[in-house]
C-alpha cells in the first residue's frame, strides 16, 4: 500500500511490535512492579476521580467506581491478555492445524485403520464412559485387539478387515456444530454458569476459536498434498504419518502466519467483551473490559475510556499491523 510507504509511517511496524512487547512484559511482571497502590485495594476517599497529578495520593490515571487505582488495574488487566488470550490463540492454532491438517490430508477415505485399531478405540471409549462391565470388558476388548493385531499378517480375512475413518466428515460436522450460532452467543451460553476458573475459560476460548485456523489449514492442505514433493516423498517410501507431519503440515500451516495475530485480536476482543458483560469471571479479576464496563454507570468517566479503551485499541491495531505483510 503506497500510503504505508511514506517515511512518516515507516516506523509503524516497529512501534506496533514495541507496544505488544511492552504489553506482554507488563502482563507477565505486573505482580512484581513497584506500584504505588496494591491491586484491588479501594481508596474510598477518592472514588471515581479523574487523574490527579498535583495532590498527595497520586492516582496517575484516576480511580474507578470502587476507588481502585486505574493504572494498577490497567497493568493487571494486561495479565488477562498474556495469560488467557495468548495461550488460547496458540492452543487454538495448534488444535486447528492438527485437525484441519489431518482432515485435509487424509480426507474421508485416506485414513484406513485395521481391525485392531478400531477395537482399541472401542475399548478406550468403553473404559472412559464406564459402560456396563467397566474395566473387565475393556480388557477383554484389548485382548481381542492384540489377537487381531497378531493375526492380521497371518490370516488374510483379518488382514483385509480395514475400514476408513471418515476424518473429513467428522471435521466438517464439528465445524458446522460450532458455527451454528455466532461465537459470542455460544460463549455467552456456555459461560452462563457460575464463574469459570482461568483454565476452564481458556478451554472454552480454545473450543470456539479452533475452527477458524483449522479451515485455513485444511484448504491449504488440499493444495499441498498434490504437490510434487509430497508425491516424491510417497514414492520414496516414507511412512505416511511422517510425510504428513514433517513435509506436508509445515507448508499447510503457512497461512496461519498472517492470521494468528488477527485471531489473537479476535480473542482479546471476545475476552474483554465477556468481562464487559460480567459473564463467566468473578468480578474481582482485573480486566480492561471490566474497567470499560464501569462506563455504563458513569458515562462521563473519560479517563476510564481513555486508559482502558486506548490500551485495548492500541493492542488490537498493533496486532492488525503485525498481520499485514511487510513490503
Amino acid at each position: 500500500m503506497s500510503f504505508m510507504r511514506r517515511p512518516r509511517l515507516a516506523a509503524l511496524p516497529l512501534l506496533a511490535t514495541g507496544w505488544l512487547v511492552a504489553v506482554a512484559a507488563v502482563g507477565l511482571l505486573a505482580p512484581w512492579l513497584p506500584l504505588p497502590f496494591p491491586a484491588g485495594a479501594p481508596d474510598l476517599l477518592h472514588v471515581a476521580e479523574p487523574p490527579s497529578w498535583a495532590t498527595a495520593p497520586r492516582h496517575w490515571l484516576g480511580t474507578d467506581l470502587f476507588g481502585r487505582d486505574v493504572l494498577t488495574e490497567l497493568l493487571f488487566g494486561a495479565r488477562q491478555v498474556v495469560l488467557l488470550s495468548l495461550p488460547a490463540t496458540v492452543l487454538a492454532a495448534l488444535a486447528g492445524a492438527l485437525a484441519g491438517g489431518s482432515a485435509g490430508f487424509w480426507g474421508n477415505q485416506g485414513c484406513r485403520l485395521p481391525l485392531a485399531a478400531w477395537l482399541v478405540m472401542l475399548a478406550a471409549v468403553w473404559w472412559l464412559a464406564a459402560l456396563p462391565g467397566g474395566g473387565q470388558a475393556a480388557g477383554l476388548l484389548l485382548g481381542v485387539a492384540t489377537l487381531a493385531w497378531w493375526a492380521a499378517p497371518r490370516l488374510p480375512w483379518v488382514g483385509r478387515a480395514v475400514w476408513p475413518l471418515p476424518l473429513d466428515s467428522l471435521f466438517q460436522a464439528a465445524v458446522t456444530l460450532l458455527g451454528a450460532v455466532p461465537r459470542l452467543v455460544l460463549v455467552l451460553a456456555l459461560a452462563a454458569g457460575p464463574p469459570l476458573s482461568t483454565g476452564h475459560l481458556l478451554l472454552l476460548l480454545v473450543a470456539v476459536a479452533w475452527p477458524e485456523p483449522a479451515r485455513q489449514v485444511r484448504a491449504q492442505m488440499l493444495r499441498v498434498r498434490t504437490l510434487p514433493f509430497v508425491e516424491a516423498a510417497r514414492a520414496a517410501g516414507l511412512p505416511t504419518s511422517r510425510i504428513w507431519l514433517r513435509h506436508a503440515l509445515p507448508h499447510a500451516c503457512h497461512p496461519l502466519q498472517a492470521t494468528v495475530p488477527l485471531s489473537l485480536a479476535g480473542l482479546i476482543g471476545l475476552e474483554t467483551t465477556l468481562a464487559f458483560l460480567g459473564v463467566g469471571r468473578p468480578p474481582d479479576v482485573s480486566s480492561w473490559g471490566q474497567l470499560l464496563s464501569m462506563l455504563r454507570q458513569e458515562p462521563s468517566a473519560w479517563w476510564l475510556l481513555a486508559s482502558a479503551g486506548g490500551a485495548l485499541l492500541l493492542t488490537l491495531l498493533a496486532l492488525q499491523r503485525l498481520a499485514r505483510p511487510n513490503h
Partner: protein, 349 residues
C-alpha cells in the same frame, strides 16, 4: 440448486438442534451451581430465613424443574459408575416436547413464560437489526464503489486512507465502538447531540421521531461493526473485475469509468457480497447483545446478556435457539438473493 439449498439448510438445522441440546444439557448439569448461587443471592437480601434448609432447596429444585434426571440415561456416581435408564421422565424430554409444541419454558429468575418475553424483546430488536442491515448494505455498496473507483489498481490518497480506516475498524469489538460513539455524541462535556438511553419502555407510545432519534446511535454502531467485512471484499471483487478482459474491451470502446464500474463490473462483483449476507444477520445479532446492553434497549440481545449474567439458563437456551434460527434465515436469504442475481443459477434449477 434447490436440493443443495435443502441439504445446506438441513445440515444447519441439525447443527442448531445439536447446539441447543448441548447447551441445554450442559446448563442443566451445571444448574446445581446456579441454584446455589440463587440461594446465596436471596440470602444476601433476606437475613437468613432458613432458605438454605434441605426442604427449601428441594422446593426450589421442584419449582425450577430440576428434580428430575437430566437425560434419558445418566451415570449415577463416579465411584460405582453405573448407567441408569430413566425413560421419558427427564428434563431433556420435557424440554424437547414442549419446544415442539412451541413452548420455550419458564425463566428461572421470575418464573414468567419465555415466549411472550422474547416476542416483546423482538419488537425492539427486529427494527434495529433490519435498519442496520439495510444501512450497512447501502453503505457497503457506496464505499465499495468509491474504493474501487480510483484510476490505479492499488488505492492512493484518500482511498488508501479510507481503506486503512476500514481495515482498522475490522478488529475492534462492538462494545468499544458503542462506548466511543456514546462518549462522542451523547456526552454533556463533548457533543450532546443524540439521546443515549431509551426513556420509555413501550415503543408504541413513543413519538416516532424520538424513537428514530434513539435508534441512530445503536444502528450506527452496528453498521460500523459489520461494514468492513462487507465493503472490503466488495472493493476487492470490483478491482478484480476491472482487471478482466471485458473491462479492457469496454474501456477501449470508450465507456466512461463510472459507467464501467456501475454497469459492467458491479453486477459481477455482487455475488461475493451476497455470500457474506449469510453471515451478516448472525453478526448483527451478536452485535445487538452489546449494543442493546449499552444503549439500554430492552431487546433480544440485552435479554440474552442479562440471562447469561444471572444464570437464567432457560432464557439462554431460548436465545441460542433464536440465534440458530437467524442463521438459518440468513443462509436461506443469501441463497434466494443469489438465485435472483445470477441467471445461470436460476436457469440451472
Amino acid at each position: 440448486m434447490r436440493r443443495w439449498l435443502l441439504i445446506q439448510l438441513g445440515r444447519a438445522g441439525l447443527a442448531a438442534w445439536a447446539t441447543a441440546s448441548l447447551v441445554f444439557i450442559l446448563s442443566r448439569v451445571l444448574a446445581a451451581g446456579a441454584e446455589e448461587a440463587m440461594l446465596g443471592e436471596s440470602n444476601d437480601l433476606r437475613v437468613r430465613t432458613g432458605a438454605t434448609s434441605p426442604v427449601a432447596r428441594q422446593a426450589l429444585r421442584q419449582r425450577l424443574g430440576l428434580d428430575e434426571p437430566v437425560f434419558y440415561v445418566t451415570r449415577t456416581s463416579r465411584a460405582s459408575a453405573t448407567w441408569r435408564w430413566h425413560g421419558p421422565h427427564n428434563q431433556y424430554h420435557h424440554w424437547l416436547t414442549r419446544l415442539l409444541h412451541g413452548q420455550l419454558g419458564w425463566s428461572f429468575r421470575d418464573g414468567q413464560p419465555i415466549g411472550p418475553q422474547l416476542r416483546k424483546a423482538l419488537v425492539y430488536t427486529l427494527p434495529l437489526a433490519g435498519l442496520a442491515a439495510a444501512a450497512a448494505t447501502l453503505a457497503a455498496l457506496a464505499l465499495g464503489l468509491a474504493l474501487a473507483g480510483g484510476p490505479l489498481a492499488t488505492p492512493t490518497g484518500w482511498r488508501a486512507a479510507l481503506q486503512l480506516v476500514l481495515t482498522s475498524l475490522q478488529g475492534i469489538p462492538v462494545f468499544v465502538l458503542a462506548l466511543g460513539l456514546l462518549f462522542l455524541f451523547a456526552n454533556p462535556d463533548a457533543l450532546n447531540l443524540l439521546p443515549a438511553y431509551s426513556l420509555a419502555d413501550d415503543p408504541e407510545n413513543l413519538p416516532f421521531g424520538t424513537y428514530l432519534l434513539q435508534l441512530i446511535m445503536p444502528v450506527l454502531t452496528l453498521v460500523l461493526a459489520v461494514l468492513p467485512e462487507l465493503a472490503l471484499p466488495l472493493a476487492a471483487a470490483l478491482r478484480h473485475e476491472l482487471r478482466a478482459d471485458y473491462a479492457t474491451t469496454a474501456r477501449a470502446k470508450g465507456v466512461p469509468a463510472p459507467t464501467l464500474l456501475r454497469r459492467h463490473a458491479l453486477p459481477n462483483a455482487l455475488l461475493p457480497l451476497l455470500t457474506s449476507f449469510a453471515s451478516l444477520l448472525p453478526s448483527l445479532l451478536a452485535g445487538t447483545v452489546l449494543v442493546e446492553s449499552i444503549f439500554s434497549l430492552p431487546g433480544m440481545g440485552r435479554l440474552l446478556a442479562e440471562a447469561a449474567a444471572s444464570h437464567d439458563y432457560p432464557v439462554v437456551v431460548a436465545g441460542v435457539l433464536v440465534a440458530a434460527g437467524v442463521r438459518l434465515l440468513g443462509l436461506a436469504l443469501s441463497d434466494a438473493l443469489y438465485a435472483l442475481a445470477d441467471p445461470r443459477i436460476r436457469l440451472a434449477s
